[in-house]
């Protein structure tokens, strides 16, 4: 479904990702794990179209989208829930969701139905519907960010660090939702510092180290991999 081939991505002279190739198949949850600063978020931004590739290409459903601007990728079926959630703080929960559905150009009734569907998935958001997003807790903001991305009806959902700064109980809830999404047929590309959690849900996973893919395999295999265990799972100390 998504193929990133030999991607090089940089900020000015700094190369954040070098020659990275990843592949996401339809219906899978694919995780990218790695330390802070390994280039995970950079790679996600490039897939969403926020950063240009200096080399390599990106294919989505067989079509090359390397230079497609971000707003068109949303209509093409890719939505990103960005790192740090990035909800619109001065707009209500409902309006944040409405904005997420912008690309679908829905009638008012269809928009309400689409928002209602997100409330069904995230009942907490229904309770908070008229509150400004800035007043939500971190976990609620994360749910809103995911729901907002889902409003675009993506076939590929990009989740960047959904556990960032959240309490363990909330993190479990978010990862439960990721499994629900897979059950609903949504393909997920997940970037996560908490490698054990990410590898636990992932069908396929990649380890990114200083901008390069150093390991790949099934989530279960990487969970057992000695190098991964030593570097990211706190074993071997």
């Amino acid at each position: 479904m998504l193929e990133v081939e030999g991607a090089c991505i940089g900020y000015g002279p700094i190369q954040a990702v070098s020659d990275a190739s990843i592949r996401v198949d339809q219906g899978q949850v694919v995780a990218i794990v790695g330390a802070n600063g390994a280039g995970k978020t950079t790679l996600m931004k490039a897939v969403a179209g926020l950063l240009p590739l200096s080399a390599g290409r990106v294919l989505f459903e067989g079509r090359e989208i390397t230079t497609m601007p971000p707003h068109r990728r949303v209509s093409a079926g890719i939505a990103l829930s960005p790192e740090g959630r990035q909800v619109f703080p001065d707009q209500s929960v409902r309006d944040n969701l409405e904005l997420g559905g912008w690309s679908r150009d829905l009638s008012p009734a269809a928009m309400e139905a689409a928002i209602e569907a997100q409330y069904a998935l995230f009942p907490r958001l229904r309770e908070r519907r008229d509150q400004m997003a800035v007043t939500l807790s971190g976990g609620e903001q994360q749910m809103l960010a995911i729901a907002r991305a889902l409003m675009g009806e993506p076939r590929l959902l990009l989740l960047d660090e959904p556990s960032l700064g959240l309490a363990p109980m909330v993190i479990r809830e978010i990862f439960g939702i990721i499994q629900d999404l897979r059950a609903r047929g949504i393909t997920v590309l997940l970037v996560e510092q908490m490698a054990n959690l990410a590898l636990g849900v992932a069908d396929q996973a990649y380890v990114l180290e200083t901008g390069r893919v150093t390991l790949s395999g099934t989530g279960a295999a990487l969970l057992q991999h000695p190098q991964v265990r030593a570097a990211y799972l706190g074993a071997g100390h």
């Binding site: 707003h71 960005p82 990035q86 001065d90 904005l99 675009g152």
Partner: protein
């Protein structure tokens, strides 16, 4: 005494309405693109002259000469048509300004867009002088020049019309920003263009729209204010400077704050003029400097700390 105070209040609100409208127009481009159109003053003057031209064309024969239009030239549908035509023409000019003088430089280091928008304004003003000449011309008010008596104060109908139109436009804008999908998208772009693009919003299109709207407001502002003084290619610069001060006072990133700042400036101006006309500008700008020293982001501006 009461009558003079009332008089100052009404004219302060009228000119404040114009300041508020133009302050809002600054805020519209600033929030969405972090740039300003420093040609806004020239846009006001050109808007006024275009308005006179449209009135002249619509009333050929019965409206008098171009330099001295008769009251009939503004009668009936002609004045609203002129305002709409000027809005559309200046809106288009705003698109051109964005593409030629802002987009190539926006978001890049340095402040090239400041110079390029100033330059755009100077070119526009020179073209206007070539077409219309330097002399101010009269634009008759559609409501006549008979002074209305309000509790002893004499008010010109155009002043009330300016206030009413400015308030109508600003309330309309506020409703669009809060209630419609397009307005919410504009606010999303204002908050963070990159995140807005992740919603599928075409950020460039919104920025183009912001410049078109901002420039259209300047043009309409020119058509509104011209019957109070007279249409001149130089009239806009002073208005734009005051409006900009009002925007800074209220907080450039807060549209409602800008509206407040514009009205506040108009009222302060006419209030101080009651006492000593020649102290008007001094008192007003001293107060602005004082306020900004205490609140650098303006009275209602977002604190820099809010943006993490």
């Amino acid at each position: 005494m009461l009558a003079t105070v009332l008089q100052a209040l009404v004219s302060g609100l009228a000119i404040g309405g114009v300041y508020a409208l133009i302050a809002l127009s600054f805020s519209i481009t600033f929030t969405t693109t972090r740039t300003l159109n420093f040609a806004q003053g020239e846009f006001i003057g050109v808007g006024a002259f275009l308005g006179v031209t449209v009135l002249y064309a619509l009333s050929s024969g019965e409206g008098g000469s171009f330099a001295a239009l008769a009251p009939a030239a503004s009668a009936g549908f002609r004045y609203p048509v002129a305002a709409l035509a000027v809005g559309a023409a200046l809106g288009t000019l705003g698109l051109l300004l964005f593409l030629a003088a802002v987009r190539p430089f926006a978001g890049k280091p340095g402040m090239s867009w400041v110079m390029s928008t100033i330059g755009f304004g100077i070119i526009l003003q020179s073209l206007g002088l070539a077409v219309w000449g330097p002399a101010p011309v009269n634009m008759p008010s559609p409501f006549g020049d008979d002074v209305i008596r309000l509790g002893g104060a004499g008010v010109r109908p155009q002043e009330l019309a300016v206030l009413a139109m400015a308030v109508l436009l600003m309330v309309g804008f506020d409703l669009v920003m809060r209630r419609t999908r397009l307005g919410k998208a504009m606010r999303a772009v204002a908050h963070d263009p990159a995140v807005a693009s992740l919603m599928g919003i075409n950020v460039t299109a919104i920025m183009l729209g912001a410049f078109a709207l901002s420039s259209a407001l300047a043009g309409v502002g020119g058509v509104l204010v011209a019957p109070i003084a007279s249409a001149s290619l130089f009239m806009g610069v002073g208005i734009a400077l005051k409006a900009f001060s009002g925007a800074i006072l209220g907080g450039l990133d807060n549209p409602r704050g800008c509206i407040f700042g514009g009205f506040a400036l108009g009222l302060m101006e006419s209030g101080v003029a009651l006492w000593q006309a020649q102290w008007r500008e001094i008192a007003v700008f001293l107060l602005i400097i004082l306020v900004l020293a205490i609140r650098p982001n303006g009275l209602f501006g977002r604190r820099a700390l809010d943006k993490v």
